[in-house]
């Protein structure tokens, strides 16, 4: 039982990382119906951004919680702007093309960024060690050993997701996003600046990816240029499981993926990656639109 709760905490923490990443997939899909294959690379860029901020300004210091949070947010906004730039350059011209074109463009972007980061001298092909942002404190609840940083990551993720949900449901830009995801043409006729909405979506998506990158790197402190690919795939699955296009679905899917993965790897670690896809395929066969997704009806 203690083991189970401990694994559950691990799973929820990994799940919150997936959830943050999956939100980006789902928001981009919801608005421009595109699977952004380069989304995992935003996670990579974000964690590198945080890494460089820390090693430039706070080398060899233990950061306080406030500064750590500030550093992560700074990294997130840098990545957010990169995301906006990527969309403007590589995806925007393809908006009216078949969706697969922009997916191929995204693969190109992914190839480009990964190899670009590998090629530029101050990043290079060798893995970097991510600095500990916070001193971890272990504490006991009864017989169960818990790590403070893990709990903080889970709580922080939930807070961020709630803020995002608030933004989408209650603010003007959120309403514009929801309108644009229903019908881009109609909403631009209603005076919504669709370009701005899409940019905002990419900013938020990439920013959240960066935050999840920092959280991930805090636990698995090895940075490589390809770290985003596998994580990105898993987050994508999470988004699909939850019902792509729905933010609550992405969060739910992310947590499900995280918990399943940790539970299975505690038994047989080689299987974890494969099983998550089996879960995905089963869910899709039973409920093709995902757990929280609505079925799409084609009008004839």
């Amino acid at each position: 039982m203690e083991k189970f709760i401990q694994l559950l905490v691990y799973g929820l923490q990994l799940g919150s990382i997936y959830a943050l990443l999956a939100i980006g997939y789902t928001m981009v899909f919801g608005i421009i119906r595109m699977i952004n294959m380069a989304h995992g690379d935003f996670l990579m860029m974000g964690s590198y951004a945080v890494f460089f901020i820390v090693s430039l300004f706070f080398a060899d210091q233990m950061l306080g919680p406030a500064i750590a949070l500030f550093v992560i947010l700074a990294g997130a906004s840098i990545t957010g702007f990169i995301g906006v730039g990527v969309e403007r350059i590589a995806y925007k011209p393809l908006r009216n093309r078949p969706k697969i074109s922009s997916m191929i463009a995204a693969i190109g972007v992914s190839l480009f960024t990964q190899n670009f980061f590998r090629a530029i001298p101050f990043i290079g092909p060798n893995p970097r060690t991510f600095p500990k942002l916070l001193k971890d404190v272990l504490f006991y609840v009864g017989p169960i050993q818990l790590s403070l940083v893990r709990i903080v990551v889970i709580i922080l993720s939930i807070v961020i997701m709630s803020v995002l949900y608030f933004i989408i449901m209650k603010t003007t830009i959120g309403m514009e996003m929801r309108a644009a995801s229903c019908d881009k043409d109609a909403s631009s006729l209603m005076g919504i600046n669709v370009n701005r909405v899409i940019s905002a979506t990419f900013f938020i998506g990439a920013g959240l990816a960066a935050i999840s990158g920092a959280f991930y790197a805090n636990n698995y402190p090895v940075l490589t240029v390809t770290m985003g690919a596998t994580l990105g795939n898993k987050a994508f699955i999470a988004a699909v499981i939850g019902g792509i296009g729905d933010i609550r679905g992405a969060v739910l899917g992310g947590f499900i993926m995280g918990v399943i993965e940790i539970m299975i790897s505690s038994v047989y670690s080689e299987l974890a990656y494969g099983i998550s896809f089996v879960v995905l395929i089963i869910i899709l066969l039973l409920k093709p639109e995902g757990l929280l997704g609505k079925p799409m009806i084609e009008k004839v």
Partner: protein, 344 residues
């Protein structure tokens, strides 16, 4: 003579092989270059296979390396573990190589059927997600199966594939795909791609046509897998990762999706390109990625989209014919292409 003029490919295709063969014999092309050419052949077969699904039927498979993995491992099992082909006389080796290849193709086709049957019924992009998942599941299964070397990889596969056989299979694949596209089966698939609802009401059993194309495609991918296994003689599950699948997607879409010639040229050029760019060291893949984005941005139909080699004699699709048989044919086939850009 007239017949030869019309069917110049009967001469030209063997000629291409003879030229490569002579260059190899005379050491003008070293083994490394020949190996690249062989891999390009494998990639051409894979891209053809992907074109049947993504180009012709309009479904999106983004995990095709999974079928290649099945083909590679099944054929390697056949030729190395079940029958020890390495210890056979050359004639028997050839026979067993062909049998292993067919076994690989059938293995992949079975998986294609199992994947395609439930998913292709669904409308929407489920095939993309399920094929992506399938590729990764296969990889995980291979990783934990000791019989095929698990995570260490499978070594010591007999070197049975040769330039000749790869060339033969490339040609066979091209003609199979051509015949497919230029038939009622292919037209049914093209109709589904263009408008699924209309195709359905025109009497086309959409799920049947989609599954047929998908299983054929998986079969061809399995054959490519066998070629790959018997060329490199070493298989590792991570080779067939999602990255490998995206490579084929890139070849297909940069070459020209829906076009057989486009997928041939795309696969060949983009396999060769990183090798040509090798002098740029770590920057070569940066350029490769950038180039890909530029191609998609400025030529969304791909480099050869909407065009076909004249020697394929494709009738379907109102395609612009390009290519070498025009040299021998006095009349070039003039197909009115009112606006090939707008059409795709």
């Amino acid at each position: 003579m007239n017949w030869l003029r019309k069917n110049s490919e009967v001469i030209i295709l063997p000629l291409i092989y003879v030229v490569i063969f002579l260059l190899q014999k005379n050491k003008i092309l070293n083994n490394y270059v020949i190996q690249i050419i062989m891999l390009a052949g494998v990639n051409i077969i894979m891209t053809q296979s992907l074109n049947l699904v993504n180009g012709m039927t309009g479904q999106n498979s983004i995990g095709h390396a999974g079928f290649m993995a099945v083909g590679a491992y099944v054929s390697a099992l056949f030729s190395k573990i079940i029958f020890n082909a390495a210890a056979m006389p050359p004639t028997m080796q050839t026979i067993f190589f062909l049998l292993a290849t067919i076994a690989g193709g059938i293995g992949a086709a079975i998986f294609g059927f199992l994947i395609g049957m439930p998913t292709l019924r669904l409308k929407g992009d489920y095939l993309a997600i399920v094929t992506l998942g399938f590729g990764e599941v296969i990889r995980s299964i291979i990783r934990i199966t000791p019989a095929v070397g698990a995570a260490r990889g499978l070594t010591g596969i007999p070197k049975l594939a040769s330039l000749f056989w790869i060339f033969v299979f490339v040609v066979i694949t091209i003609y199979i795909c051509r015949n497919y596209m230029d038939s009622a089966y292919g037209r049914g698939c093209l109709a589904i791609r263009d408008n699924e609802v209309a195709a359905d009401t025109m009497g086309i059993n959409t799920s049947k046509y989609k599954v047929q194309a998908f299983v054929t495609s998986a079969f061809i991918a399995g054959i490519a897998g066998s070629m790959y296994a018997h060329t490199l003689r070493y298989l590792h599950p991570d080779v067939f990762s999602y990255t490998k699948s995206t490579d084929f997607l890139v070849y297909l879409y940069a070459g020209g999706v829906g076009s057989i010639s486009g997928s041939i040229l795309g696969a060949f050029i983009l396999t060769a390109l990183p090798e040509v760019l090798r002098f740029m060291n770590e920057w070569r893949l940066v350029i490769y990625g950038g180039l890909l984005v530029i191609i998609i941005l400025f030529r969304p139909v791909g480099m050869f989209g909407g065009k076909e080699f004249a020697f394929l004699k494709l009738k379907t699709g109102g395609i612009q014919h390009i290519g070498f048989s025009n040299l021998f044919q006095r009349k070039t086939k003039k197909t009115i292409v009112a606006n090939e850009e707008a059409s795709r």
